[in-house]
Amino acid sequence: MVLPLDEAVRTLVHDGDTVALEGFTHLIPVAAGHEIIRQGLRDLTLVRMTPDIVYDQLIGAGCARKLVFSWGGNPGVGSLHRFRDAVTHGWPLPLQIEEHSHAGMTNRYVAGASGLPFAILRGYSGTDLVGNNPNISTVTCPFSGQEVAAVPAVDPDVTVIHAQRADRSGNVQLWGITGIQKEAALAAERVLVTVEEVVETLDPVPGQVLLPGRIVDAVSVVPGGAAPSYAHGYYERDNSAYKAWDEIGRDREAFNAWLEEQIGAPAAGAT
């Protein structure tokens, strides 16, 4: 249950998988993302509501074939340059994209967690997302005749999240902004959780989400594993790292140098 991160990623994540790394600004599983890059995983369909710098890094490193998302940016800073480069120039690889709104992605995870084939919502109506994404449709209410939007469930092969704590049975506890992690974990076939620490007893915390150990496949202890995002009660968001990423991400050579020096991964493609 409690495994070193490299072993957990090797066991649970495979080439070609649909992988969701979730965490809404808070508790982003950055260290696990870096391990996926280090292991050179390929052809992943990456799912995330808010792909930010760790997804920029995964895309830049050539791990992804497709990105399913609703908002891709460097929050509070600007654009994701590796993402842009992949979309507009196919570097290092072409990247398919499937684009939703937050409300749509949210409900796709809810449907996945609920064992339903799809979800309904009031959304998308009149937008150009509709014509550009076959995974946005409509159904009609059999009682009122009203039309509502429909989106298919997202069922990741693996969901990866970061949490504050777990116990030895793999029960996982997270609090603060809890985002979509519960649904993302419940929607997945396999679940990997990196944590700040493993403790003997998970004393209840107000606002907590507790994921029972029976839905968690591996817990890896990675203190600081959400940095440069933050872990409520453990460390703050490192805003300077987000700002610094802008410059690294802008340039293919700077990015490749970062890959080699910071991650220990090979350069991504001819610059």
């Binding site: 809404f24 994701l80 937050h102 409300a103 009149g126 937008t127 997302l129 603060g176 985002g179």
Partner: protein, 251 residues
């Protein structure tokens, strides 16, 4: 005698803040909307109920968050709910009075683009995408857009409709089943645009001190109509300016 001066961002922020009434609920996007909402809360609208899409309901941050999910938002909220809850139980259910949005492009009918400049399949500039905006624009009782004026940003027709404003004109929102009133004001660094009640087309209804109408029409990529009475925005007060500056860290 005091001479008050301010930047164009500052009067934009103050004007946007003034659009919020006390005790309203406001769905706040990051950046200019967040600054404006926090200015309102510290001036005339202390009971403003701010909701960020990260699930923080009724948050009262003591400094401006950099992202929509900073820890300060959770620490100071009435309650933190999950992302499905904030979108389904609060936004979709129609419980939010005002949505505060930014945009990369806006058009004559206040449709908003935050997705791509150019063709979707081979974009000139790839932007972050939709985020919460399509449903904020659909479900809030009204929407206020805050963005800097330029003819690249204010276009006749957006390259991509990320969020529907008034569609192709009056009646389109009803036809599309969008329940809120849509954008009721667009506040820029030059002035204020509002939809014509008859057609839904944005017209110039206000200019900031020192701004000429010609400057605004110049900075607009369509043939901008002007309301019969274009109102001059009142200058920011000392209090408003000091609040803006304490939040943004300027002077």
């Amino acid at each position: 005698m005091t001479t008050v001066t301010w930047t164009s961002d500052e009067i934009m922020t103050v004007t946007a803040a003034r659009s919020l009434e006390d005790h309203m609920s406001c769905f706040v996007g990051i950046g200019l909307p967040s600054t404006a909402a926090n200015v309102a809360r510290r001036t005339h609208a202390p009971g403003l109920w701010m909701v960020y899409e990260s699930g923080t309901l009724g948050t009262v941050p003591d400094h401006l968050p950099l992202s929509i999910g900073d820890g300060i938002l959770a620490d100071t909220a009435d309650t933190v709910v999950s992302v499905p809850e904030v979108f389904n139980y609060w936004l979709q259910a129609g419980r939010i009075d005002v949505g505060f949005l930014g945009a990369a492009q806006i058009d004559r009918y206040a449709n908003i683009n935050t997705t791509v400049i150019g063709d979707y399949h081979s974009p000139e500039v790839r932007l972050p995408g939709a985020g919460g905006a399509p449903e904020i624009a659909a479900s809030c009782r009204e929407v206020i857009v805050i963005m800097r004026h330029s003819s690249r940003a204010f276009v006749d027709q957006v390259d991509f409709v990320t969020s529907v404003g008034h569609g192709r004109g009056k009646g389109d929102r009803e036809r599309l089943g969008l329940r809120g009133a849509g954008p009721t004001r667009v506040i820029t660094d030059l002035g204020v645009l509002e939809p014509d009640p008859g057609t839904g087309e944005l017209v110039l209804t206000g200019v900031h001190p020192g701004v000429e109408i010609a400057q605004v029409t110049e900075a607009t990529g369509w043939d901008l109509r002007t309301a019969e009475n274009v109102i001059g925005t009142p200058a920011p007060t000392d209090t408003e300016l000091s609040v803006v500056r304490s939040l943004t860290g300027a002077r």
